[in-house]
Structures are given as structure tokens and as C-alpha cells.
């Protein structure tokens, strides 16, 4: 597939010759004057994956990915790297399970080591009602062949002796784990898909901001950009975080609000935890990266924002959640905190759909679950763009579902985006 | 006469602790009644209270106090005043309604709140560990009252003396609030 196949042998060879032979990971392109079959707006993980699968699965290679800044500069470059398929509702679970299966074969497929690490994730349970709800979820996972494991408190303690079991305000009563869950080196996902797509002929165009859509008689004919107008038979917008801003240029309003989600990483530490742990009675989840940093996060800041930065209350709340379940991290230092902009949808679930404008498609509303969805999102969006039909596992992700009353509300908090 | 007698109890059993520079003590001799001011009756109520008790409705965040200091009105909300007065009976609501003789809606809140007074020269040093409100004596002047959140507990703070503050928290939180104050004392003094 690739013109420069990556391997240990190749690394060795390059080492002996001063690394002179490495080529650009992807080809930096300029817009073609005669346009494209498909333009993907947004060079994030989802957009690049969409382009890759359009080319690979559907043979559509006259594709451009337009990126306002540098590729991977959105949420794929700014998240807590977790992958999992532990969803409850039938509208979601098969989709995320497809994504998990794609993750499991990603590196061989792309010939790029994104360090997919199925180290397992574990959700802690703190009450009987929560146990019942997690068992319901666990069964939904097993029905979908996603796998799961239920641990009693004793087993949790044995595996993770650093958890605070004895002096906890909300004692740990059990846990539901998904051994197949884990983490992925997030930036590498964007680079790997970019490389794969580029090798198949896709044009990746950085520093090219879409400033408008050329729409005539209700049909999208292309986009206006900072590099001029570009024609396209079909345009797929894929800019979660900025969905509201971009779709407004096509006159489309969405059931989405933009919110800021913060995430955190500590200084590098020798390994202390090998999987992802999620607190069930507070806002905290954590894993340790291969570099040694504890990567953790919690809840969104709760107010609408496009600012890519958050405020202190959430920082403190998340850290206290961490101290509540694993007080060994008190002396670990938080090195860096950042904020990403989330497309928070009205039911906490995403959209992959056509729009009221012909030949203009929309992918967004990923809330803070977008990273783990990257492969399936690209896979299903490519399917929709290529075939005009929703992929069967993404069939529930329609824009009109609120009009019909077909919400996919995992948390059951209703049409208030900041609660999802 | 009933065969059974109910015995009343304050939220903290009258707890009182002295530290070097700070005294922490439960307040047990005050009643609290919320007085709602319907929009179209607000003026009538104000003049009725002025006539019956000689008290005006305070500005937001402030209080007014009767001449004998037994009754203080707190203004924490636009459409309500909270009366804080020396009274220990079970019928504070009726008692206040009678004293005011004003066509307001009265709701007894005496048992809703636990009250702790933090006083002494180091009181502000102790409180700055939990209180987000600026307690600078020139900012939070004598008689100021404010509702905020301390240690995740909704709290009303009232300055009733130069170095004296009364903290009110929902009754069920009283022990947690007392603990929070004591931890501050330990950390600061």
C-alpha cells in the first residue's frame, strides 16, 4: 500500500544512513482547480479517517481534506486517549463496538503504530442502584459481543491496592470492566490516517479555512476557502467543536452547543497503574500514558464556550475526585491542563447524516466521546457519503431524531447539553 | 396532657470551642423566619414593619436592627427578608407575624439552619480558608450578610461584630461545617 513501508528493518536501515531517506508522512497538497468528488471539511481524526475509508473501502480517491490549521489540531490532538465500547443503548453500542474492532486492527491496516493499547478500563461502582445500572450496561455489552467483566470489591482491591477502600466518602462496592478498552496515542491516529489517505491519493490541504459554502437551489456545489473556491460534487462537514460555526455558514442550525472540556496530565512517573479507572461517585477518570504521565479528566466546565480553556472549579473538582479514590496521587504534579471544545448535543449522542442542503452532509455532536469513535465515525461517514445510505450501526444518528422523539440519551439527563 | 413529651435539641448540642484567638460556638437562642414580599404588597409591608417595629427593609446584602438589637432583618433576596431574632419558642412564625402586623407570607426557618459563631481576632484568618466572600472589614462591613458556598455547603455569613461572624448552614450539614471550621483553626493557628 504505502510507498514507504514502516518497519523495524527500515528504521535500522535509516539509522545507518543518517535518517536521510524518510519522506513526509503525508503529502501537503494545494486545491485542484477542477474540484473533487468529495470534500471533507475538517482535518481532524474523524475527517482524515473518513477520507481514508472513502478511498480504501469505496475507491473514491478524488477527495480533499480541508484543514483550517494543522491536521489533528482539534480534539484528536487534545483528549485523554481512551477507547472503549461500553455503551448502554442499542443506538450506540454496536457503533462503538465496530469502532473497537477497527482500533484492534488499526496499526496493521495503516502500517502506523498508534500504540493501541488494550490495557482495559474499569468503572467503579459505589451503590446498589449503580450496580444494577452497570449490570444492565454490562449485559448490553455482552449482547453486543463487546465483552465485560464484573469485579466484586475484594477483587478490585486485590488488583488495585492503591484505591481508597476504607476511608472513602463513597466506598467502592464493585466495578465493571471492559478488558478490551484502553488507550491510543492520540496524535498518531491523525497522522496515521493522514498518511494512509494521502498514499491512496487524497489531498490533504492544511491552513485552508472554509469561509462559506456555494449553495444554489438548495444544493451544495463546493466551498469557499482562504485558498479560493473549491468545487465538489459532495461536501462532508466534520468539524466537531466548531460545528455550530461552520454549519451556520450554510444557514443550518443544530441541536448542539459548544462546551469546553478540560483534561490534565501529570509529570512523567514510573508505571503505577496499567489500566483506565473511572470514579463512579465523582468526576474523575485516569490512565497512565506510555510516557509515564497520568492522563486524567472529569466533567465539562458547564458553560458554552469556544475558548479552548477552562476554569479552576473543574480543575479542583477533578483533582479531588482523584484524591478521593487514589490518594497516592497527591504528590504527583499536574503538569499541563488544556481545554477542548466539544459539540455537546441535546441527548449526548452524535450525528452522521445528510442535511436539508443537498450534497451537504454533517458529522458532529460527539460530545466528549469523539476520540474513541474516530475509526467508526470515518467508516460510517464514508459509507454515507459514498452510498447515500446510513451504515447500519450509525442508523440512529439522525438529525431529525428530536423532532421524532427518538433520543439516544445514555445518561437520561434530557435536552440539556452541559449535563451529558 | 400528653403521655409523651418531645424534647428539643439544637443541631450541634450547643457546641463551643475556644482556641487561641478564635472562639467557635453554636448559636442556639435565635429564631429565623422568612418574610416573602409579594410584589404588589411590598410597600404596604414595608410601612407596616416600619410602624410596628421601627425597622426598614435593608438594602441587598445588608441588615437592619431593632434598637434593642433583638431583631435583625437580613436582605438576601429581592422578594424576601429573613428575620433573625431572639426567640426560642416553637411558634416563631406566628410570633413574628404578630409583631410585624404586615400582610406578608411568613415561613419558619428556625430549624432549617444550624448557626455557628466564629469570633475573635483571628476569625478572618480562619474563615479565609473556606469563605470565598471578601471579609475585609471595610468591604464586609458590620451588619453585612451574604449567602455563598463554603466547602460545598450553602452558607449564610453574617457579621454581627467587629471580629464576629455567624455562619448558617442547612441543619443536616451542621456537623460538616463545624468540622470545616475546626480544620481551618488547626491549619491556621
Amino acid at each position: 500500500m504505502s510507498k514507504t513501508r514502516y518497519s523495524a528493518f527500515r528504521v535500522l536501515k535509516e539509522a545507518l544512513t543518517g535518517h536521510k531517506g524518510w519522506e513526509p508522512t503525508w503529502r501537503d497538497a494545494e486545491p485542484k482547480t477542477d474540484g473533487y468528488d468529495v470534500i471533507i471539511v475538517g482535518g481532524g481524526g474523524h475527517g482524515l479517517a473518513t477520507a481514508y475509508y472513502l478511498a480504501k473501502n469505496h475507491g473514491i480517491t478524488n477527495v480533499a481534506v480541508l484543514e483550517r490549521g494543522w491536521i489533528g489540531s482539534g480534539n484528536v490532538g487534545r483528549n485523554t486517549t481512551i477507547i472503549r465500547s461500553n455503551y448502554l443503548l442499542p443506538g450506540n453500542e454496536p457503533f462503538y463496538e465496530l469502532s473497537m474492532q477497527l482500533w484492534e486492527n488499526l496499526e496493521q491496516d495503516l502500517n502506523y503504530n498508534a500504540m493501541v493499547s488494550q490495557r482495559g478500563i474499569m468503572n467503579l461502582i459505589h451503590s446498589d442502584a449503580q450496580r444494577d445500572a452497570f449490570i444492565r450496561r454490562g449485559n448490553a455489552m455482552l449482547f453486543a459481543d463487546a465483552g465485560c467483566e464484573y469485579l466484586e470489591a475484594k477483587e478490585v482491591k486485590e488488583r488495585y491496592p492503591f484505591l481508597d477502600m476504607d476511608n472513602a466518602r463513597f466506598p467502592i462496592k464493585a466495578a465493571l470492566a471492559q478488558p478490551r478498552g484502553g488507550t491510543v496515542r492520540h496524535d498518531a491516529v491523525a497522522w496515521g490516517y493522514a498518511r494512509g489517505a494521502s498514499d491512496l491519493g487524497v489531498d490533504i490541504i492544511q491552513n485552508c479555512e472554509v469561509t462559506g459554502f456555494n449553495i444554489e437551489n438548495g444544493k451544495c456545489l463546493g466551498v469557499q476557502t482562504t485558498k479560493g473556491d473549491i468545487k465538489a460534487n459532495r461536501v462532508g462537514v466534520c468539524v466537531a467543536g466548531s460545528s455550530g460555526r461552520v454549519m451556520a455558514k450554510a444557514g443550518i442550525k443544530l441541536p448542539i452547543e459548544s462546551h469546553v472540556l478540560q483534561a490534565f496530565v501529570t509529570e512523567g512517573l514510573k508505571p503505577v497503574m496499567d489500566n483506565v479507572i473511572t470514579f463512579g461517585a465523582g468526576h474523575f477518570y485516569c490512565s497512565q500514558s506510555d510516557k509515564g504521565g497520568l492522563v486524567f479528566g472529569g466533567d465539562i466546565d458547564s458553560y458554552n464556550s469556544y475558548a479552548q480553556r477552562g476554569n479552576l472549579p473543574v480543575v479542583e473538582d477533578v483533582c479531588s475526585g482523584g484524591m478521593a479514590i487514589m490518594p497516592m496521587i497527591g504528590r504527583a504534579r499536574l503538569l499541563r491542563m488544556w481545554g477542548g471544545i466539544m459539540d455537546m448535543s441535546m441527548d449526548g449522542s452524535p450525528f452522521i447524516d445528510s442535511t436539508e442542503v443537498k450534497e451537504l452532509f454533517f458529522n458532529g455532536g460527539w460530545c466528549y466521546g469523539g476520540f474513541k469513535a474516530t475509526p467508526a465515525s470515518g467508516y460510517c461517514y464514508a459509507h454515507l457519503l459514498a452510498t447515500d445510505t446510513s451504515h447500519e450501526v450509525a442508523n440512529a444518528y439522525r438529525l431529525d431524531r428530536f423532532r421524532r422523539g427518538a433520543m439516544i440519551d445514555e445518561k437520561g439527563v434530557g435536552p440539556q447539553p452541559n449535563l451529558h | 396532657m400528653s403521655d409523651y413529651e418531645l424534647i428539643k435539641e439544637s443541631p450541634l448540642g450547643g457546641a463551643e470551642h475556644e482556641f487561641d484567638g478564635v472562639t467557635v460556638a453554636e448559636v442556639t437562642d435565635q429564631s429565623l423566619v422568612m418574610v416573602a414580599l409579594p410584589k404588589d404588597r411590598a410597600e404596604d409591608i414595608e410601612s407596616a414593619i416600619a410602624e410596628s417595629c421601627g425597622l426598614s427593609i435593608p438594602a441587598m446584602g445588608q441588615s437592619t436592627r431593632s434598637t434593642d438589637a433583638s431583631l435583625t432583618l437580613w436582605r438576601l433576596q429581592k422578594n424576601q427578608v429573613l428575620a433573625y431574632f431572639s426567640y426560642e419558642g416553637d411558634d416563631a412564625e406566628a410570633n413574628l407575624a404578630e409583631r410585624f402586623n404586615a400582610p406578608a407570607y411568613y415561613t419558619d426557618q428556625s430549624d432549617t439552619w444550624g448557626m455557628i459563631r466564629v469570633s475573635g481576632e483571628r476569625s478572618r484568618d480562619v474563615l479565609e480558608r473556606i469563605c470565598p466572600i471578601d471579609l475585609d472589614p471595610n468591604v464586609f462591613t458590620l451588619g453585612s450578610v451574604s449567602r455563598t458556598v463554603m466547602e460545598h455547603i450553602g452558607t449564610i455569613i453574617f457579621r454581627d461584630g467587629d471580629d464576629s461572624y455567624v455562619l448558617l448552614t442547612m441543619r443536616s450539614f451542621s456537623r460538616s461545617m463545624l468540622h470545616a471550621i475546626e480544620v481551618s483553626v488547626k491549619n491556621v493557628l
Binding site: H19, N139, A188, G414 | Q109, T112, N187
Partner: protein, 982 residues
């Protein structure tokens, strides 16, 4: 020999000798030392290993930007990894250990990676470790993980405490160097309320490390005098050893204060305090950080920043080596030579990359202008340097100055973008720092001390003036003007040798160029691909250097290359400090019910319900399993009488002329005509038609209602009602107030409940079935005049009441009820028995009102009024919500009564496979019914309402349970409700 590098002078207290250890060796230092200065005093140069190649490393800086000297401090649970020796104040008993090596520090087995470095360049791991597939998790990743990481966590609970605090001021001044002190003084003299914070335990900034004279005093003396003056002013709060770490919205700053130095050995006080500072204006006087120059093998122990050499020399009275050379591209570097001379040390050589005349005379030193250092020798300590003019110079310390970077971080915390200033060859703050922030001194790029002082002074004065204070009349301090000239110089071609840019993460010039070659051209891409600037020092010494190298390599300007985003925290902050007190039992406050103490006396088992502790069950002696207690509580309640504390349910008093109308809008069922003295069940929907909460509302008088909510939703329902009132119908005469805590409320349930209550209710209150029928409500008195509210409502399905008294009597009422009920063998029951009885009655609760179910799903469609507009009406009519095949709530009982039924089970057709497509629903609540003698469940199944009598399987694959169940009515017990009305 002890402290062989210690010389005279300095700002240390030689009277106070402190003992500490490094890698087990006992050493001595003085009060006023940092760990780094004490190590250097003891001639310790090799102090750690780098992240990737395990290169031997020494101390480079004297401040918070230190990349190399990071170590583990303390032992056992007190061990603190990755701690910068350069900012750790020395204390007696300090225990320091180097980290990230296998075997002794001087012979690290992992240094093998240094020889493999050609293989391990930037991003090598993206290109390999893919074959065979299964080896990644089994072999490659564990190996990588083990070698990655720096220090080690103890994995024990952090034994220290932390605190939080709040401070308010008019002007926050960040940095107490020359400009910060000047700003503080002029601002304070104006009367404004000032906080002056500095990360160092000694205020004065670079003045403590330099030899400038200010107002005729030594700089450090002037600083000391100024600090003393400020500390005497009432409107000034000085916060030393306090690092401001972030600028947040609207004038909120976060700052971490370390435990006071005298208490460093005392673990009783909080280790750190996390201050939230609220300020109207901020003056950033954070100074500048010196940077290195990239040349071959520039990372050896003994190669230091020129300014750090001066700091050790002047402030700490330590001379780091015997044969010191200087390499610089600016005038400032020469100061090091000058100061060394002043202390009587000969300088071996001064190498300046600029082809200009020597900046000053340095007696005895070899001066090499227009010359570069191109390579160095000495694995564990610097031995010699090789120059571009071909000379090799024996030297054990090389003081390097590549120029100064203004510490403009805070100006970018709100996404400001720095501007390039060619004159000082550095980025300077842009014109849009966070609102309310101004910058003075070297943080702004004002490199000449005399100007920085004036700038600080003027800003302090003008900011105070803008806030309405009078202008300061004092004049700024004076010092002689010393020019600062620089020619940007990033790196020297190093041939085969590696030239380090990011010391800690081992990023070299080659790595940056390789990243560019592979298409990673954005500065963010380079950072992510090479890990540049991602180490514990956040690239403070590395980033600008890297940008310079990128700009050169790609032939673009510094400004076009740009910086990565500056984000908080300015320096790493302990997670424990952010958490403050919130951990363990103090993670959240605790709410106790009125019957808590009494229940504790009965050995009740408590359970967390939100912030409340509620009694879960009351074990009697001899009961060994919770089921024994719960079954007994249910049986006894159903056969006689039981009491349960239900105070936690939300209670809202609603008064006003329009309450009926208001309730009619917020409840789905009709509420316009509730008679006085009656209670009505109410179902509240969200606007989207999904059930939100339920409860009862009683009308106590014409204009007075009292509403109850579930425990979980007490706060959110109140908030929702306030929204409905203030935002939707503001002119309704409605006044709400929470009375949840005003009343202790107990359910008294069971056939003998009336008889029990009659014993305590005052005789003038008639509570007979006729006078006080099912759903009656009223205000009564009990026990001789204590006011109470009585509601004849039932969650258990029995004849039952809820009685509420002022909370002051709550504990007492529980005791009285138990005493009065003795003749009926009254028992207390907990939340478990409460749950059993509600499931026997088929009442929906939390697991059913889960935010995904409509009134129709819950079987309450019949209650919905079609004659009024209410919250949730219109959207509740949407097609998907009205479908007959939705998951509908029904009951389930095992076909074999001995079978175990488990909540969370999913429902399947009798012969269906367990797949998502075949999934028909789930069991939401499940208990063993002691009355019926078998398990029963409530749950949701497709078209459930029309499938009663059908058999399906309840399958729990998670715990391995698969039983056949019959779909039935959820009303398992007394479906006609006869027991309620007796």
C-alpha cells in the same frame, strides 16, 4: 571534605547548619540554601539522568525552569518524585535521591539507550513494534513503559494535608524582583490593596543573584529593605514561596503556597495551600528566563546557564567549579565573568559568538570573539570544550547564555500570541493579555534594570490611579544603566554530535530537523512528534531555542514559526494541592438525618444517598445476613407498624394566590382544584415529555401548599420550579421556600399506624378514618402542643402516615414513637425495606424514573391531562414516544418461585440468542418479597402493557443467571389498594 565549593558572603545563614542526604550520603548545607546550591557546595555535579538516553546530567539553572536536577525528595509515603532541586528550600533532614536510573547513578545500565540513539530518534516508535500484532501489549509496550517515566510514586496514600484559601485585592503583583517590588511600592503607597506573590522563598528576584546597586545599596539589601517596608503596610499582603500558576477568567488567579520554611520538617500543617486570588488588576513582573545555545554535547554536567552561575556565586556563595568558562551571544553573559573576577576567581575563557569587540576586560581569561563552542568532553563531568577556532580548552564549568526569554506565560493564558522582538531576540507579550493584566520589567522585554524599575514603579502608580486611588508621590529607585545587546544565535552545526535542545526529554537539533523533513512543520506538530517542551520544565529553557532552530531550518521568520500555546500551570502543581481538603471522608460534606443518632444507637447500617446518610436496615442481635433484617422489617410493618425516617425527601412550601395555577403548569396531571386538607400525587415531566420527578403535594390552606420531591431531585426540582416561575411566568404570585430541613418527617406505616399515632397526637385533632381519610393532610399538634403536619399517604401500600415536626424535635419524636409503639412491637425500617415494599406495590422510583422513560412507559399515561398546557405536554406527544412497542414498565415474577431474579438482567424470548437485535428490555428493580415468598422485579419490555401473562427469560450474562419469568402487573401486593383506605 564538607562544602568544598562554599565561599564567603551570600544570603545564607551560616549559623544554621542543616543536614541532608543525597543518595544516602550525609551532607551539610545552610539555612537559605536550595537543595541545588547545597549539592553544588558539596561538589555534587552528576545529579540525574535524562529521560530517553539516560545521559548523565548536572544542575543547569537556579530556578523553576530546571530541566535536569529533578529528584525524589523524602521517603516512604512522603516521597515526592520529580522535584526540582533548584527551588527546593533546604531543611534539616531532607532526603534526596536521584531518579530514572537502573543501578547506581554513576553507572546506569539504561545508558545503553544512549548508544542505540541512532535507532531511537524522533517518532521511531510510530514506525515499528507493529509485528507481530500480539507483541505490542505483551512485550513492546511493557518494555517501553518500564523505561519511560521519571520518578516513582510511593503508591501509598499521601500522608500530608493540603488546604485552600481565598484572598481578594485590588492589584495582584506577580513577581517580587526589581520591577515587582517597585510596582508594589508605588501601588501600595496609593492606598490600593495589594498582594505581592513570588515563587521564591526569598523575595528580590534576580537582585539576590546579581551585584547591581540600587539607591546606593546592594540590590539584595534594597530588596530586603523594600520588602520590610511593604510588610509594614496594612494594605499589603506578601506571599513568598507562593507560585501563581494560572490566570483564569475575570481576575481569578490560582497560586500555591508552600509550607513555611520553619515548618518544613513539621508535618502537622498543610504541605501547601491552594489560594484563589480575586483581583481587579494584575501587574506581571515575572522577569525572564535565560536560554541555552545548541552545540555538540551541550548537555554535560558542568554546563550551566550563565545566570545560574551568578546566582550560586552571589546568593548562595557557591562556586560551581575551579575552571570556569563563559559562552555567550549577549552582553549579559559577560557579567558572570565579571562577578567571578570580583570574587577572586580566574575565568578560563570567555567565548562570544558575536564578532564584536570584547564587552569588558576579563583579566586572565582567554577571550574568543566570533567564536563558538562546537563540542565538549567528559562523560560524568565536563572536562574540556572544543571551539570553532580549533582550540580545545580545559574547563570544568561552562556558563552559557543564549539570551533571555521574558516570562510572558500569563499573558498567553487567555490565548494571547506573543510577538517577536528582534532587538532583544525574544518573544514579548502581545497587546492583548488577559483583561486587567499589565506587564512590567523584563517580563515585558525591558531588559535594562534601570528601565524595569521605572516601568514597575509607573505601572504600580498608574494602575492604582485607574482604580480610583491617589497617585504615589514617591520616585522610582535608581540604578546605573547597563546596556543589553544580543545577536540571536540558536545553534552551532554539530556534525555527528548531538546538540540538545530539550535536555529532559532528550530532544536534539537533529530530531527537530527530522520532524520537519517528515512533514511535521507546524510548531505544534514538532512538539507532538518529538515531545519537545513536554517535560516537567515545559520547555522553559528549550522552546524558544527550538523555534529558532525550526525557523532557520525551514527558512521562515520566528513570528511565522510561532510558539506553542502557553497553558497553566506555570509550574507543575501537586494534585493534592488542587484537591485541598477534599479527600477521604471530606470528599463531600455529610448530611445527617434527624434520627441519625438514635439509629446509630440501634446499630443501624447506614448508606450514602447523595450527601445524606440514611439507615439502610436495623440489624437485631442474631441477624447475620441483611436479608434477615430486611425481611423482618417488611413483615413487621405489613403486620403491625414500622417507622422510617423520610426527612430526606424534598419539601417545598409554596405560598401565594396563584399556586394552583402554577402547579397545574408544572405537573402533568390536573392540579387546579385540590381541596384544602388534601394531598395529591403529582407527576412532573421535563419539557421533552420524559418523567422528571414525582411526589405528593398537599394543600394546607387556600394559598399554602407543601410539595414533596424525591430525595435525589430535591434540589433540581426546586431549581426547575424557580425557572418556571422567574423565567416563564414571572407575574404569578408564587413564593417558594425549601422546608426540607425545617421538618423531621417520619413514615408511620402498617395496620397499627393510626393506633400508634393516636397515642401522641393531641386529642383535639381527630385522625380517625372518617375525619382524616386516605390522602388527607393537615396541621395538627402532638405531645401537648408541638406543631406538626400530618399526611395520610403511603409508599408501602399499608395504612400509613407521614408526620412532620420541627426538626428540633426530630430525635425526640423518633424515641417517643418507638416508646409509644412498644405495645404494637413497632420497628424502625430502613431504605431496603422501604424499597422492598415499594416494589411489591409497583411504585416507580429512581431506577424507573431514569430520565429515559415517559409517563406512558411508566403506565401513567392515563394521568396525563389533555386539557391544559403543562411542561412536557407537547413534546411528550412525539411519534416515537407514543409508539406501542416502546419499552413499557411491567412486573416480572420467576416461573419457578425458587429462582433468583437479578436487576440489570436483560429480557429475551424463550428461545432467542443473546444479541442486541433480540434484546427486548431489562429488569430495573428487583427484590425478594418476604410477603410473596419469591423474587419479584419491575422492568421494561417492548409492548409490555399488552403482554401480561407471557413468559420470557431474564438473562444476566454478567453474573451468569438465566431464568424464565412471567410478565405481570407491577402491582404485586394488594393491587386494589384496600389496605390503604382502612
Amino acid at each position: 571534605m564538607s562544602q568544598i565549593n562554599r565561599i564567603d558572603g551570600g544570603l545564607i545563614d551560616r549559623e544554621k547548619v542543616l543536614n541532608f542526604t543525597f543518595n544516602g550520603q550525609i551532607l551539610k548545607g545552610y539555612e537559605g540554601d536550595t537543595l541545588a546550591s547545597a549539592l553544588l557546595a558539596n561538589n555534587k555535579h552528576l545529579i540525574g539522568r535524562s529521560f530517553k538516553y539516560h545521559r548523565p546530567r548536572g544542575i543547569v539553572t537556579a530556578g523553576s525552569e530546571e530541566p535536569n536536577a529533578i529528584m525524589e525528595i523524602g521517603n516512604g509515603a512522603y516521597k515526592e518524585p520529580n522535584t526540582r532541586a533548584t527551588v527546593t528550600q533546604l531543611y534539616n533532614g531532607l532526603e534526596a535521591n536521584s531518579q530514572n536510573h537502573r543501578g547506581p547513578l554513576s553507572f546506569d545500565f539504561m545508558a545503553i539507550t544512549d548508544f542505540l540513539s541512532p535507532l531511537l530518534g524522533a517518532g521511531f516508535y510510530y514506525k515499528t513494534f507493529m509485528w507481530p500484532k500480539a507483541f505490542w501489549e505483551k512485550f513492546y509496550e511493557p518494555a517501553i513503559r518500564k523505561s519511560a517515566g521519571l520518578g516513582t510514586l510511593s503508591t501509598e496514600t499521601d500522608p500530608d494535608t493540603y488546604d485552600k484559601g481565598f484572598r481578594h485585592c485590588d492589584i495582584l503583583i506577580i513577581g517580587a524582583g526589581a520591577s515587582g517590588l517597585s510596582a508594589a511600592l508605588s501601588a501600595a503607597e496609593s492606598g490600593a490593596k495589594i498582594i505581592l506573590a513570588d515563587e521564591d522563598f526569598l523575595m528580590g528576584g534576580r537582585l539576590n543573584s546579581e551585584t547591581n546597586e540600587i539607591d546606593g545599596l546592594a540590590g539584595s539589601e534594597w530588596a530586603k529593605k523594600t520588602v520590610a517596608k511593604l510588610s509594614a503596610m496594612e494594605n499589603v499582603t506578601l506571599m513568598s514561596d507562593t507560585t501563581v500558576f494560572g490566570a483564569y477568567d475575570h481576575g481569578i488567579y490560582g497560586a500555591i503556597e508552600n509550607r513555611a520554611s520553619e515548618a518544613r520538617e513539621d508535618n502537622d500543617k498543610p504541605r501547601q495551600v491552594n489560594w484563589r486570588i480575586y483581583t481587579k488588576r494584575t501587574i506581571l513582573c515575572a522577569g525572564a528566563t535565560e536560554r541555552l545555545i545548541a552545540f555538540g554535547n551541550n548537555d554535560r554536567p558542568g554546563i550551566m546557564l550563565a545566570s545560574a552561575v551568578r546566582a550560586y556565586l552571589n546568593r548562595f556563595s557557591v562556586v560551581p567549579g575551579q575552571r570556569i568558562s563563559v559562552y555567550t551571544n549577549n552582553d549579559d553573559g559577560w557579567k558572570t565573568a565579571k562577578d567571578l573576577n570580583a570574587k577572586g576567581f580566574r575565568v578560563v575563557a570567555v567565548i562570544d559568538s558575536r564578532s564584536i569587540s570584547p564587552v569588558m576586560r576579563v583579566p586572565g581569561a582567554e577571550i574568543c570573539m566570533g567564536t563558538d563552542v562546537i563540542d565538549t568532553k567528559g562523560r560524568r563531568a565536563l572536562k574540556s570544550i572544543q571551539l570553532s577556532n580549533g582550540k580545545t580548552i580545559e574547563t570544568d564549568t561552562l556558563a552559557v547564555s543564549g539570551g533571555w526569554n521574558p516570562n510572558l506565560h500569563f499573558t498567553c493564558h487567555h490565548r494571547g500570541i506573543p510577538k517577536w522582538n528582534e532587538e532583544i531576540a525574544s518573544f514579548v507579550p502581545d497587546s492583548a493579555p488577559p483583561v486587567g493584566m499589565s506587564v512590567a520589567g523584563r517580563a515585558k522585554g525591558t531588559m535594562v534594570l534601570a528601565d524595569a524599575i521605572i516601568e514597575g514603579h509607573n505601572q504600580g502608580s498608574s494602575v492604582a490611579l485607574e482604580l480610583g486611588y491617589k497617585a504615589s508621590e514617591s520616585k522610582p529607585a535608581t540604578t546605573s544603566v547597563v546596556a543589553y545587546n544580543i545577536s540571536a544565535h540558536w545553534g552551532v552545526p554539530s556534525g555527528k554530535n548531538r546538540a540538545w535542545v530539550d535536555f529532559q526529554n532528550d530532544v536534539t537539533v537533529k530530531d527537530i530537523k527530522l520532524a520537519n523533513q517528515e512533514g511535521f512543520k507546524s510548531v505544534e506538530h514538532v512538539k507532538r512528534y518529538t515531545t519537545l517542551g513536554m517535560a516537567t520544565d515545559q520547555g522553559k529553557t528549550a522552546n524558544v531555542l527550538a523555534i529558532g532552530i525550526m525557523a532557520e531550518s525551514m527558512g521562515q521568520t520566528m513570528e511565522d514559526t510561532g510558539t506553542t500555546i502557553f497553558r497553566p500551570p506555570y509550574v507543575p502543581v501537586a494534585i493534592g494541592a488542587f484537591a485541598g481538603r477534599r479527600r477521604g471522608m471530606e470528599f463531600y460534606p455529610t448530611r445527617y438525618t434527624p434520627s441519625h443518632d438514635w439509629s446509630a444507637e440501634q446499630n443501624a447500617v447506614f448508606v450514602e444517598v447523595g450527601m445524606w446518610y440514611r439507615s439502610q436496615w436495623f440489624p437485631l442481635p442474631g441477624e447475620t445476613h441483611w436479608r434477615q433484617s430486611v425481611d423482618r422489617e417488611v413483615r413487621q410493618t405489613r403486620s403491625s407498624v414500622g417507622i422510617c425516617d423520610v426527612t430526606t425527601l424534598g419539601k417545598i412550601d409554596i405560598k401565594g394566590e396563584d399556586v394552583s395555577e402554577f402547579l397545574n403548569k408544572v405537573y402533568a396531571n390536573a392540579f387546579a382544584k385540590v381541596p384544602v386538607g388534601k394531598t395529591r400525587y403529582g407527576l412532573m415531566l421535563r419539557e421533552d415529555g420524559i418523567a422528571m420527578d414525582d411526589g405528593t403535594t398537599a394543600r394546607l390552606s387556600e394559598n399554602h401548599f407543601v410539595m414533596t420531591t424525591t430525595t435525589a431531585n430535591a434540589v433540581s426540582v426546586y431549581r426547575h420550579l424557580q425557572f418556571c416561575h422567574q423565567c416563564l411566568w414571572p407575574d404569578l404570585d408564587v413564593h417558594m421556600i425549601s422546608v426540607t430541613e425545617q421538618y423531621a418527617q417520619y413514615a408511620v406505616a402498617g395496620p397499627n399506624s393510626r393506633k400508634l399515632l393516636e397515642k401522641i397526637v393531641d386529642p383535639e385533632c381527630d385522625i380517625s378514618n372518617e375525619a382524616f381519610p386516605y390522602m388527607a393532610a393537615g396541621e395538627i399538634t402532638v405531645c401537648g402542643g408541638v406543631p406538626a403536619r400530618l399526611f395520610r399517604i403511603s409508599f408501602s401500600g399499608e395504612l400509613a402516615y407521614e408526620i412532620a415536626v420541627p426538626t428540633r424535635y426530630g430525635d425526640s419524636l423518633m424515641r417517643v414513637l418507638m416508646e409509644a409503639g412498644e405495645e404494637f412491637s413497632v420497628i424502625p425500617y430502613g431504605t431496603e425495606a422501604l424499597g422492598v415494599m415499594r416494589i411489591e406495590k409497583g411504585h416507580a422510583a429512581g431506577p424507573e424514573l431514569n430520565g429515559q422513560t415517559s409517563a406512558y412507559d411508566l403506565g401513567m399515561g392515563g394521568m396525563i391531562s389533555g386539557k391544559k398546557d403543562f411542561i412536557g405536554y407537547t413534546l411528550g406527544l412525539r411519534e416515537e414516544l407514543q409508539r406501542d412497542d416502546r419499552m413499557q414498565m411491567v412486573g416480572f415474577k420467576p416461573v419457578n418461585p425458587n429462582d433468583l431474579l437479578l436487576a440489570g438482567s436483560h429480557l429475551l424470548g424463550l428461545r432467542d440468542k443473546a444479541t442486541t437485535e433480540n434484546d427486548q428490555g431489562w429488569i430495573s428493580s428487583c427484590i425478594y418479597s418476604p410477603i410473596l415468598g419469591h423474587y419479584i422485579g419491575i422492568g421494561f419490555i417492548k409492548s409490555g402493557h399488552s403482554r401480561k401473562g407471557e413468559n420470557v427469560r431474564a438473562v444476566d450474562l454478567v453474573r451468569g443467571n438465566d431464568v424464565e419469568v412471567e410478565i405481570c402487573s407491577p402491582h404485586f401486593f394488594d393491587p386494589e389498594g384496600e389496605r390503604l383506605r382502612v
